[in-house]
Structure formats: structure tokens, C-alpha cells
Amino acid sequence: MQSEELIVTEGGLEMDTMFVNMGPQHPSTHGVLRLGLTLAGEVITKAFPDIGYLHRGTEKLMETRSYHQCVVLTDRWDYCSAMTNNLAFCLSAERLFGTQVPPRAQALRVVMCELNRIASHLILLGTYGIDIGALTPFLYTFREREMILDLYEKCCGARLTYNYIRLGGVAADIDSGWVAKCREFLEFFKPRLDEYDTLLSFNPIFLARTKDIGIISKETAVAWGLSGPNLRGSGVSYDVRKSEPYCGYEQYDFEVPLGASGSCWDRYFCRVQEMRQSVRIVEQALAELPTGELMAKGVPKIPKPPAGEAYAHVEAPRGDLGIFLVSDGGAAPYRLHVRAPCFINLAILQEILVGKKVADVIAVLGSFDIVLGEVDR
């Protein structure tokens, strides 16, 4: 800590504040985030996150794209979980059209989104480990993630940007071989979760770096509009899958894991527990996979929805992803706004970093699991 005695000497040793610039090129900012920090000794007195280094103007571009073309751009917001982005946009547009999605497509959407949640949280486990200094978990989590990507590739042909969930349904069907392969993966994956716990979650060094660091109280978390595991890590039970079920989430039995104190470790461990719940959901969905159509009838090639406004939100791996869509009756959205969870989660940094040591910045920042593609859009 900064000691007062150092400042008193006249003309001698003086404590002065120092400006430290982190980023946009920094290995631990998970992209192109820039942090301006003012330090007094080791303690941060002011933090100023500077974003926009990946601002691609997607909201503007979508005003000249047809609805089917928009789905392509949604993939690239939160590129770690492109499925949920597709889903949020499609739900919003379907609300505008009044389309009813067939049950098989609903179940497939749930399966894909939950697998994507696992894949996305695996990236966090790996990279957060690297941030803290544990290099090995990265290799293990990416091994499991590759298996999910193989499943995706088998189904829709893409590894990262799927464009799988379309307006009115999904693009491709799965066969029995896929289901068997998916079950095989789930059986392989369940014991791996315990392995992560022994390897990283309860590792004494990891605990020392993350437990009791970056504590966010319930009230602060709600006031700053946090969502997803960052909110639930503080003990607030809010999950869109429970509060406003979409795609038939109400028929699956799963729990919403909560953290105890809102520390970095709680936010991290919420995600580990969420993966267990996702495995449960996928198992249930695969057990009762309905048969039937994949696409709703009557979705035109150039859709022109009636004029109106719709809002739909989903529980993305990083929080409450909402799409506000305005149509003026034309073939392109008149206005599209993304309630990007990462963008809103990141704003709290300027408050909670103050008073922390500079060594904790990475631990706090990493625990928010930001993806800059979604922060800047």
C-alpha cells in the first residue's frame, strides 16, 4: 500500500502518480481493449477503459442488409458463441414476423446453444488460466473445445461462424450418428470437469490470485447492469432462460448456479458449474428430440416484415443479449440495436479497479470474460 510517510520529505522522495497504458496490444486484454490506469505506487487511483478499437459499425451495416444477410453479421459480434447471437437476432425477427418455429428446430437450437455455451466457457477457462499464470489448462480446454467444433462442423460445416440458426428454424438437420457422437462427447466431458476443478479451480495459487479479489456486491452488480455469470457470481439469481423462457427452455430441468461473494473466483466458478448444467440440458434435449420440420413454412427469400418494433433477449454465455429491432415495412431492418452484455459488463471496471493493486487488474479483467467483438460491435 501507499504509505503517507513517503510524501512528507521536502524535495526528497516523493510519491507521484504514474500513468500506465495497457493495450490495445496486450496479451491479457483478450483483444483490443485499452486501459488507462493512474497509479499511486502500486495502487490504482483512476481507471479509464478505452474501447472502440474493434468498432465495425455493424448496426449501421444492417440497415442495408436483408434479414437473411443480417444473420451473417451477427456471427461476428460475440465470436466465441456465434450460435446465441444468431438465436437472439432470429428470435427478435420472428417476433416481428409472428413466425412459429417447429419443435424440432427449437430443440436443435437449444442443443447447439448449450454446446456453444460449453465451448465459450472453455475458452475462458483456458485463457483465464493463462492470465493467472497456469499455462496447462489452456491445452486441455481447447482439446475439449475442438470436439464441440467437430460436432458443429459435421452439422453445419463451420467451426466458428456458423450462420446455423436462421429465420424460422435452423439450416441443417442432425442424424443419428451425430447424436451418438454428441453423447460420446458428453460422457467424455463430464469427468473432465472434475479434472479442471483439481487442475485449476481449487489450485492454491489460483485461489490466492482470485478469491477475495474484485468483489462486487449484489447492489453494485444490479446498479451497473451486469448480466450473465458476472451478475450471478454476486448472488443475484437472474437467468433469461428461467425468467423469460425461449425455445422451450421451460421443459428442461436445470439449475442456475450462484456465487457466494462476487469475487473473481465466484464469477469463474459460476461458469464451471454452468457447464455442468449445460451438459444436463443437452442430454435432456437429445433424449426427447422431436421429429418433423426444420424450417417454418412461408419464410420468404426476401422477408418484408410488417412495420413494428420487437425486442427479444437470450441468455448468452456472457450475459443477457438483447436485440431491439425496428421495421418500417422494408426488406432491411430500419434500426437494430444490440444490448451487448460485454459492453455493459465492462463499464463497471472504472469503478471496481480503483483501490486495487496493479497486479490484480488482469485477474479482475479476465474474470469478466469480455469479447471485444461484442463490446464494440
Binding site: 436483408s66 417476433r95 416481428l96 446498479a223 412495420a307 422494408g330 432491411a332 440495436h337 455493459i344 460491435r377
Partner: protein, 190 residues
């Protein structure tokens, strides 16, 4: 997602001039008549009605179809079909839409305990786009208002740090306004 008439009635009664608006599909929506009503309405929602979660701050520019000059090159050239050339931007409004020179601001508040949501709307003229800032009540408004300022040019009175957040420093204008015309900068083609 039910209409939740009780809190809506209280809100409408407490804020003079407000009226229930055509809803954002399935969600209760209230239109405010003047910018000065926003803070009382938000305070009522937060302190008495339990809506302590500010979900979203955004705006819609109702000037008309988007100006294609806002794009660096022809958006959507569509070289494959000659039948539908050009981007799918309709020059005329569909039924039920009137283009007018206003910015339609939208706030969404959530109640995490009772799973309710309410939208507030406010129209401000495009040339004097000003609204009170909610940063005093909801810290979550901080960056979202900066984003709306950056992309729409809406000035939020009382915001402590209303500066650009997403676009580069040298970008002139507010890109999400419908009449935005892109001025070529040093990174665009000559």
C-alpha cells in the same frame, strides 16, 4: 411478460402527460411527453416499483430511409441478380410508419425479482437532441448514454463524462443518424 397493469397505472398516474404507447412487441411501453418527465419516472420506477435494473438505452432516428452516402462503397451490390439491384432499402415508409425529423429515445427497465420489464420512450427533435442523463440513478447508463451520444449525437444533460466512445476521433458526424454522409479519411481509397 404479462401486462402488469398495476405498475403501469401507477406510472401513468404519477407522470403527467405520459401515455401508454404502441408496445414493443409483448412488453408494456410508456411514452413520455417531455424530457423533464424522465427523471421522475425513472426515480419512481427504481424506488417504488422495484425496477432497479436499467437494461438498455438506445434511440431510433425516424428521418427516413438511410442515406447511402454513409457507406464507404455501394452496400450490397448484388452482382448475381440483375432483377433486384442495389440494397434493400425501401424509399417509402410501409403502412403505419410516418417519417418525421425526430429521434425516438428508448429506455428499458427490468425488475429482476418479479421478471417484469417496461419500456419508456421519448421523442426529441433531431436538431436539438437533448435528454436528461440517468447516470445519477443508474450507473449502467454511463456507457450506454455515451454510445448514444457518439452514434446519434444526443446530449445527455448531467452526464459526467459525455465523450466519444466507439468511433475514432477523426470521424465527423454521428454514424447512426439516417442522414449521415461519410467524409473520406486517410484510410479510405482515394
Amino acid at each position: 411478460m404479462s401486462a402488469g397493469a398495476d405498475f403501469l397505472d401507477r406510472l401513468l398516474a404519477a407522470v403527467p402527460g405520459s401515455q401508454a404507447d404502441t408496445p414493443v412487441k409483448d412488453y408494456p411501453t410508456v411514452r413520455l411527453s417531455a424530457p423533464k418527465d424522465l427523471l421522475p419516472a425513472a426515480r419512481l420506477l427504481k424506488d417504488e416499483l422495484g425496477f432497479d435494473y436499467l437494461e438498455m438505452v438506445t434511440a431510433v432516428d425516424w428521418l427516413g430511409p438511410v442515406n447511402l452516402g454513409g457507406f464507404v462503397s455501394n452496400p450490397n451490390p448484388n452482382p448475381f441478380t440483375q432483377k433486384h439491384p442495389g440494397p434493400p432499402v425501401s424509399p417509402v415508409a410501409g403502412p403505419g410508419v410516418t417519417y418525421r425529423p425526430v429521434l425516438d429515445l428508448l429506455w428499458s427497465f427490468g425488475d429482476l425479482v418479479k421478471n417484469r420489464k417496461v419500456f419508456l420512450r421519448l421523442e426529441v427533435p433531431r436538431d436539438r437532441a437533448e435528454a436528461p442523463s440517468l447516470t445519477g440513478l443508474f450507473p449502467a447508463a454511463d456507457w450506454q448514454e455515451r454510445e448514444a451520444f457518439d452514434l446519434f449525437g444526443i446530449r445527455f444533460a448531467g452526464h459526467p463524462n459525455l465523450i466519444k466512445i466507439l468511433t475514432p476521433d477523426f470521424l465527423q458526424g454521428h454514424p447512426l443518424r439516417k442522414d449521415y454522409v461519410h467524409a473520406k479519411d486517410r484510410y479510405d481509397a482515394e
